[in-house]
């Protein structure tokens, strides 16, 4: 032992090369050591949920800055870096992400893009929402302006996902989630979109509620165009359901006796209340026009076109609005078709016969009141009568052979009189018309079939010079 002390006094010369070694070792090993520790620290953190992670290594000391989402997460991340072999000490510059109060998240859609704003609770949910928006809105640009905050309500992800699905149903608008309250505004993309969104919002998890739903529906449009050249009635737009569709198509067939009905209607939800009750009389008014367009937009009915004669125009303007349900508006732009050239009595008779061959004047069963569906035909008859102002016309009523002769005789007379009254009301001189009833004495078909009876129940116009 004594020897060791003696020898050790002579060990010092080796310190000189040792210092040289040390200097070279320090010079060459510091950068690789630091990058190795940085890599190890980063991989130690790969399972930690952090934002804005920054790792700087000086020598063996790690400066670790990050935003954590919970105190536990923050502590365990620091501990994970501390446990990395070779790390001497950790300068802890971590902090918790700020807490948002209230926790607001929103998705806003305009014409070309969807912008996600507000707070998301975790980087993963932020990423998921962004991806879901991109996938769900195919082709629309998605802008992510979300930041990360603490304080999200439970089940935030589910709710945000559900709301993102709704943004696809909007043409433009904004959906905001503030804590547990959902507010919506904007315009639905399709008819029924508003209803679909309202239905989807019923699936919000418990605890969440809709504070304001101001989604507007696009206008509910129904259009009918009567084309006198092509002799068609074109129906386009929407009807509430197939029942209303069928009823309207049938009514159109009755009211437009000579036109071919081109039916391009589609069924869709979102109709204003009283739709069928308003459209049916509006179609009746259109049938009285020579050419015309009916546009029903939400609760506004707009009818434009040419009536056959002055009195008809006045009747349509005055009469239509009365039939409408509460809250409906009616705008009429009715002009009168220029009078057609006068024709002689023979041509007049021919025109009457042609019209009455295409359609029949209908009455209520067993009574003498004219079915409103026949207004279109009657207006055409009035127009024809106006073209031969000198001709006297016999309006002849006929019935089928069912029932008592006396009753039939009386009914046929009353019906002929009702038609004559209509003509006189239209402005024709009463003296030109004679109402005659023939009962069932002049059948044009056999009374043994329903079809034959229907043909026998008729009004004829006979021109008497």
């Amino acid at each position: 032992m004594h020897g060791l002390f003696r020898w050790s006094s002579k060990w010092w010369p080796g310190v000189i090369p040792l210092v040289v070694f040390w200097a070279i070792a320090a010079w060459t090993s510091t950068p690789p050591l630091e990058s190795d520790l940085a890599a190890r620290s980063t991989s130690a953190l790969k399972d930690s949920v952090l934002d804005k992670t920054r790792i700087a290594v000086a020598g063996r000391d790690v400066t670790f800055a990050a935003d954590a989402f919970s105190e536990d997460g923050r502590r365990s991340a620091v501990a994970a870096v501390q446990a990395v072999p070779g790390v001497r000490q950790v300068n802890d510059e971590t902090r918790l992400v700020p807490e948002a109060k209230p926790f607001v998240w929103s998705a806003e859609r305009d014409v070309v893009r969807v912008t996600l704003r507000g707070s998301a609770p975790l980087p993963a949910s932020k990423g998921r929402l962004f991806e879901a928006a991109r996938a769900g809105l195919g082709g629309v640009e998605v802008v992510d302006q979300m930041n990360l905050s603490r304080g999200a309500p439970p089940r935030f992800d589910n709710v945000a996902q559900l709301l993102l699905d709704q943004i696809g149903k909007l043409k433009d608008g904004k959906i905001t989630l503030s804590d547990t309250k959902v507010s919506l505004s904007g315009m639905a993309r399709d008819l029924g979109g508003r209803e679909a969104i309202a239905a989807a919002l019923k699936n919000l998890p418990e605890g969440f509620s809709v504070a304001a739903n101001e989604i507007k529906a696009p206008p509910y449009i129904f259009q009918a165009y009567k084309d006198p050249v092509a002799v068609t009635l074109t129906l386009t737009g929407y009807v509430p359901d197939n029942n209303v569709h069928g009823a309207l198509a049938t009514a159109a067939g009755r009211k437009f006796f000579s036109e071919k009905v081109v039916d391009n209607l589609k069924a869709s939800v979102g109709a204003p209340s009283g739709f069928a009750a308003a459209v049916a009389p509006a179609l009746g008014a259109l049938s009285r026009l020579s050419t015309g367009t009916l546009v029903v937009t939400d609760r506004e009915v707009k009818l434009s076109g040419d009536a056959f004669y002055d009195a008809a125009a006045a009747q349509i303007r005055a009469g239509l609005g009365k039939d409408f349900p509460q809250g409906w508006q009616f705008k009429a732009e009715i002009s009168v078709k220029p009078a057609a050239a006068p024709v002689d009595a023979t041509v007049c008779q021919q025109l009457f016969s042609d019209l009455l061959a295409k359609g029949k004047i209908r009455f209520e069963s067993g009574r003498a009141s004219i079915d409103p569906d026949s207004a279109g035909l009657l207006d055409r008859l009035v127009e024809t009568a106006l073209r031969c102002p000198t001709a006297n016309i016999e309006v002849a009523g006929h019935t089928d052979a069912d029932g008592e002769d006396a009753f039939n005789q009386a009914l046929s007379e009353k019906r002929a009189q009702a038609v004559t009254d209509y003509l006189v009301k239209a402005g024709l001189p009463a003296g030109r018309f004679t109402a005659m009833g023939y009962g069932s004495t002049k059948p044009v078909a056999g009374n043994d079939t329903d079809e034959g009876k229907a043909q026998n129940r008729r009004i004829d116009f006979m021109v008497r010079e």
Binding site: G3, L4, R6, W7, S8, S9, K10, W11, W12, P13, G14, V15, P17, L18, F21, W22, A25, A26, S29, T30, L33, D36, A58, G59, R60, D61, P85, G86, R88, Q89
Partner: protein, 98 residues
């Protein structure tokens, strides 16, 4: 520590070999040794540096360099001790024969 050994084993081995060589030479070296007084001061200095390293007072790169230097120095001393002892043992074995 284990990390430093695995990362720097070449330099540490070099220090150890340097120590072995120095220890081997020191036994028969005729030059001036360090005086007792100086040796005591050097020991105090070394102890102070070790204390600084253990207390982790020096931050960042200088702190790392201090650790590295102390480990190399420790291995050097160990090498010296082993080298000197081996030389002494070799000499004493040869002496009776001579």
């Amino acid at each position: 520590m284990a990390y430093l050994v695995t990362f720097h084993w070449t330099w540490l081995l070099a220090s150890l070999l340097l120590g072995l060589a120095m220890g081997w030479i020191a036994v028969v070296h005729r030059g001036q040794g360090v005086s007792k007084r100086t040796a005591r001061w050097l020991a105090v200095l070394a102890a102070a540096l070790v204390a600084l390293a253990l207390a982790r007072v020096i931050p960042g790169r200088p702190g790392y360099w201090l650790d590295l230097g102390l480990i190399m120095f420790a291995l050097y001393l160990a090498g010296c001790a082993v080298g000197s002892w081996l030389r002494d043992w070799a000499l004493s074995r040869d002496a009776p024969a001579a």
